[in-house]
């Protein structure tokens, strides 16, 4: 394929992928990061994303799906513009991780893996995110917020809602 003319990705990401497949001793090593970076731009692993990744690496779409379904960060339908991931694993649980998670559910009116109607937010209860000593912690897309109290939840949401309004709705713009 000619990625310049047919790619589902932006020219910048397409160029990055051209380099990525050359980086390793075997092309296939690019698969996992490529899927994640593709998701960052497109919002999820659509059929078109999977088809292009398969073509770029030279494996079947089925093979791509087999790998993609293994990794918990990869998804096959759109999440919100800001995906809120609340850790409730032991260190966070001991310091109120479930209270944080409950507060997000109340404020957003959605549960695990839910997306708000305006598409701005989605919510996930996640396993340990490696912020145990600064618990309770969450990630909004890739940004960490730690040492939280439930009272801080509305302000965090207001902040991201503001960002969504100024930046528009393109994922990860």
């Amino acid at each position: 394929m000619s990625p310049e003319t047919m790619s589902v990705f932006s020219p910048r990401l397409a160029a990055r992928f051209d380099a990525l497949v050359e980086k390793y001793p075997v092309k296939r090593s690019a698969l996992v990061p490529m899927l994640l970076y593709a998701q960052d731009e497109v919002g999820y692993l659509s059929d078109a994303v999977i088809a292009e990744v398969a073509a770029r690496i030279g494996i079947t779409e089925l093979d791509v799906r087999s790998v993609a379904t293994y990794y918990s960060m990869l998804r096959f339908k759109p999440a919100g513009r800001y995906n809120i991931q609340v850790c409730t694993n032991i260190s966070c649980m001991l310091r109120g991780g479930y209270d944080i998670y409950d507060r997000f559910q109340e404020e957003l009116g959605i549960a695990h893996k839910g997306v708000t109607q305006d598409g701005v937010f989605s919510l996930e209860e996640v396993e340990c995110i490696g912020a145990c000593c600064w618990a309770p912690a969450i990630q909004v897309n890739y940004d960490f917020h730690d040492g939280l109290t439930p009272e801080q939840v509305p302000a965090i949401l207001a902040d991201y809602r503001g960002k969504a309004e100024t930046k528009g709705k393109t994922p990860n713009a």
């Binding site: 090593s29 996992v32 918990s72 694993n89 209270d99 912020a131 145990c132 600064w134």
Partner: protein
């Protein structure tokens, strides 16, 4: 931004450059960085491995295998290229030490990788970070690019005839990928399921070539060991446990944080002195000494316990990843056990049946039990199930799920019995998922 903490008993070796702007390559060099790699380039592989052996440095990922010995297992001659693989998939609940290393001292990881490469005769090193650590991956990528620009990495490192390349890699969410053979599978673009051993990675590893896989903390320690000398580093720790360890203290303590303490440091002092004691003046109920897969310890068991691989092992647990999770007397241990096993159920890759089915049934049984629908026989069943997972899987995830579960049942049996006969959880907090009878 994760908060840095400090305590007078700390011996800052690996953390010595934290908070000093060492992510900047010029600053890193100004602080003495990359001098160890240059030394190693002159001295050669045998010298490096001798220093590492003398240092008593043991793998910081959790298994505690002596690093020098691991490197010495790699065959000198190999038809296939050799590789160094740095495991930064840090995912063990209670563990966030590598997070700080990538944030504050990314060049130490690169320098350690170069030294490991020189020791085994590899020309390529991979640094694999979990997908959630995107901002840390970006810091690592910048550090790698800066090292190339300075000629520290590339075809002729430090202007020599020696080549060394470093490639960074992102995961995409999987605890299991922290297991070394699953890590290699993931890096090869596959599902992160473990490989059967033998052959061990030192013989047949990444892309079929001999591979050394070290935890990020281990690798970041290497340049310091070279700088100090093996014996001097060993002298900081306890017998057969060289140096320091980054202990991440979390849970119900006044001052949670990552503290660098000598190996063998007393666990009770970590809880009460270093981390400021149990939060809110409450009483201590239990301590998980080394991440969620290590069996829980009771307050009297931590009394005289030195935190090194051998002493914690003798006490019936493991030093693991050094993630100390402190639990106060208001915590329901059945719920704690349930949350722990829920994690392993979620993360089991499904490859081996005892792990896939065992974690699932343990989660089901504990969920029902905690909701007040348990039966007396469930308590023994939980233990029986867990015991039958032990040693029956390709990788240690099955054991990692079973070991803590067995300890919870054995050490807190009374709390399990308190949940029987439809009694509500004595520690019930708001929002505990409760089953309803239909």
């Amino acid at each position: 931004m994760p908060k840095l903490v400090s305590h007078p008993d700390e011996v800052k070796i690996v953390t010595s450059r934290f908070g000093m702007g060492a992510a900047n390559i010029d600053r890193y060099i100004e602080l003495g960085g990359y001098a160890s790699a240059k030394t190693c380039l002159q001295k050669g592989p045998e010298w490096i491995i001798d220093v590492m052996k003398a240092s008593g440095l043991r793998g910081r990922g959790g298994a505690g295998f002596p690093t020098g010995m691991k490197w010495s297992f790699v065959p000198k001659q190999s038809a296939k290229p050799k590789y160094v693989l740095v495991n930064g998939d840090e995912s063990e609940p209670g563990t966030c030490k590598d997070h700080l290393i990538f944030l504050h001292d990314p060049h130490a990881v690169i320098e350690g990788t170069i030294i490991a490469g020189l020791a085994i005769g590899a020309k390529t090193g991979f640094i694999y970070l979990r997908g959630e650590y995107r901002y840390l991956l970006e810091i690592m990528e910048k550090a790698v690019a800066d090292a190339y620009a300075k000629g520290i990495l590339g075809k002729n490192i430090f202007g020599s005839e020696t080549e060394f390349q470093v490639i960074t890699q992102s995961g995409a969410g999987a605890y299991e990928v922290g297991e070394e053979s699953a890590l290699m599978e993931s890096l090869e673009g596959k599902r992160g399921v473990p490989r059967i051993k033998p052959p061990f990675p030192a013989v047949v590893g990444l892309y079929g070539g001999p591979t050394v896989i070290n935890n990020a903390e281990t690798i970041a320690t290497v340049p310091h060991v070279i700088e100090m000398g093996g014996e001097a580093y060993a002298a900081v720790g306890s017998p057969r446990n060289g140096g320091t360890r980054l202990f991440g203290v979390s849970g119900h303590v006044e001052r949670p944080g990552v503290y660098e303490l000598p190996m063998g440091y007393n666990l009770k002092k970590i809880v009460y002195d270093v981390a400021g004691g149990v939060r809110g003046g409450r009483k201590l109920k239990a301590v998980v000494p080394g991440g969620s897969s290590t069996p829980v310890l009771l307050p009297d068991e931590i009394e005289n316990l030195g935190m090194d691989f051998d002493q914690v092992g003798k006490a019936g647990s493991m030093l693991g990843s050094g993630g100390v999770v402190v639990i106060d007397d208001q915590t329901c241990m059945v719920e704690f056990a349930l949350r722990t096993i829920s994690f392993y159920q979620h993360e089991s890759c499904g490859w081996c049946i005892p792990c896939r089915e065992g974690t699932d049934w343990l989660k089901k049984t504990l969920t029902r039990f905690h909701a007040g629908f348990g039966e007396a026989k469930d308590i023994d069943n939980i233990q029986y199930l867990a015991e039958n997972m032990m040693g029956r899987t390709f990788c240690p995830l099955g054991d990692a799920a079973a070991m803590p579960t067995i300890a919870f049942v054995k050490k807190f049996r009374q709390e399990f019995e308190d949940h029987l006969n439809g009694k509500p959880c004595p520690y019930a907090r708001q929002g505990v998922p409760q089953l309803t009878v239909v």
